[in-house]
Amino acid sequence: MKYVSEYRDADLVKGVLDEICRTVTQPWVVMEICGGQTHSIVRYGIDQLLPSEIELVHGPGCPVCVTPLELIDKAIAIASRPEVIFTSYGDMLRVPGSERDLFSVRASGGDVRVVYSPLDAVKLAQQNPDREVVFFAIGFETTAPPNAMSVSQAQALGLDNFSVLVSEVRVPPAIHAILGSPHNRVQGFLAAGHVCAVMGYWEYPPIAETYNVPIVVTGFEPLDIVRGVLHVVRLLESGEVAVENAYARAVTFEGNKPAQALIERVFETCDRKWRGIGVIPQSGWKLRPEFAAFDAERRFQVADIQAEESPLCIAGLILQGLKKPHDCEAFGRQCTPEHPLGATMVSAEGACAAYYRYGRFTNE
């Protein structure tokens, strides 16, 4: 597959790994903050191939994992209504709420449908004028432009039966929260490549300077990831604090302007609760007042739903890179992909799910 397969070339990857081995002289802790990168690392066994001096830590980069429990409960409440067609990205269907998940809502007769694109949800609203179509708009910055477009399109088409349940989160405030924590061990950062494709990476130099942490914009294929690691290790070894772009084929400094413009038009920043971490100020987006009519929380009056997490779950510590999945007592026992207790086991990209699927039960 063009521009994918080349970045899985074993020889090229080995070349970069050898260069990393030649460069590293001391231990470093590097965090990646993207579920897609976690998935790739564990799927290809990249962290096992890196020299042992490099510890890769998986940050809160999975929008499914960080969606708060009460939002899942709200989704379930809305989806259970007979007039609603509830649409969602596939990742969310298996996430358990306090009592059940969207799959079981479907089994009990709720009309819950997976869509690949938010515009498919808008199409459903056009085709079903007598039903209420709700779209579960989760994601980081990568997904914000598509999610925003669904709202602006619904408005442009004059649809009054379409609304969105928003759970949009932003990466830079999360990085601030992690690096600013007194327990922080992270010394270098791999920035999420597709988030930066949309937003650019102009937000990162101030972060790098504030915390003295080099940041490298990194892609997702094995070659991209090891290149990202190589760049960050070179910076760490030389003591230079800088922001570099190791995913130049998809990312520019300013990012995608039209996409940013639409985000700006539809959303405004707000505080958001990150499952397992807590409220991070200004770390999310919500609909602007002029789009309030499309806010599913208001339309279906579910704003008051509250929820409580399992006491066994240490997802918050894992998301901040302070613990690994196998440090958790419930990992692989009470908590498995079939019966997830918390954020990081729920999505395939959550650190715990990735570790479980790829067999990391011990500290190797």
Partner: protein
């Protein structure tokens, strides 16, 4: 948040007031919204996430990167992994 796949734009048209296109991922084709890549032309590559092109993919950068990395291996072959001449 990041499942983005490169694909080649084969067709460009308008639907419901939006710039749309048919993108080919190598035997699989899908309609993709091109509103965020207004300057893209047929034959160029885009990164697609949930049915939207979130950015154009620079083939030039892609080739440069691969060339650079291929050079690293070639140099290694010449000088050997420990740095001595083979």
């Amino acid at each position: 948040m990041c499942l983005g796949v490169p694909g080649r734009v084969n067709e460009i048209y308008e639907a419901n007031g939006l710039k749309m296109g048919k993108v080919d991922f190598g035997g699989v084709k899908r309609e993709v919204c091109l509103e965020y890549v207004p300057e893209v032309e047929i034959g160029e590559y885009v990164i697609v996430h949930v049915g939207f092109a979130i950015n154009q993919m620079s083939e030039e950068e892609a080739e440069e990167t691969l060339d650079l990395l291929r050079q690293i291996i070639n140099i290694e072959d010449e000088i050997g992994p420990e740095g001595g001449v083979t």
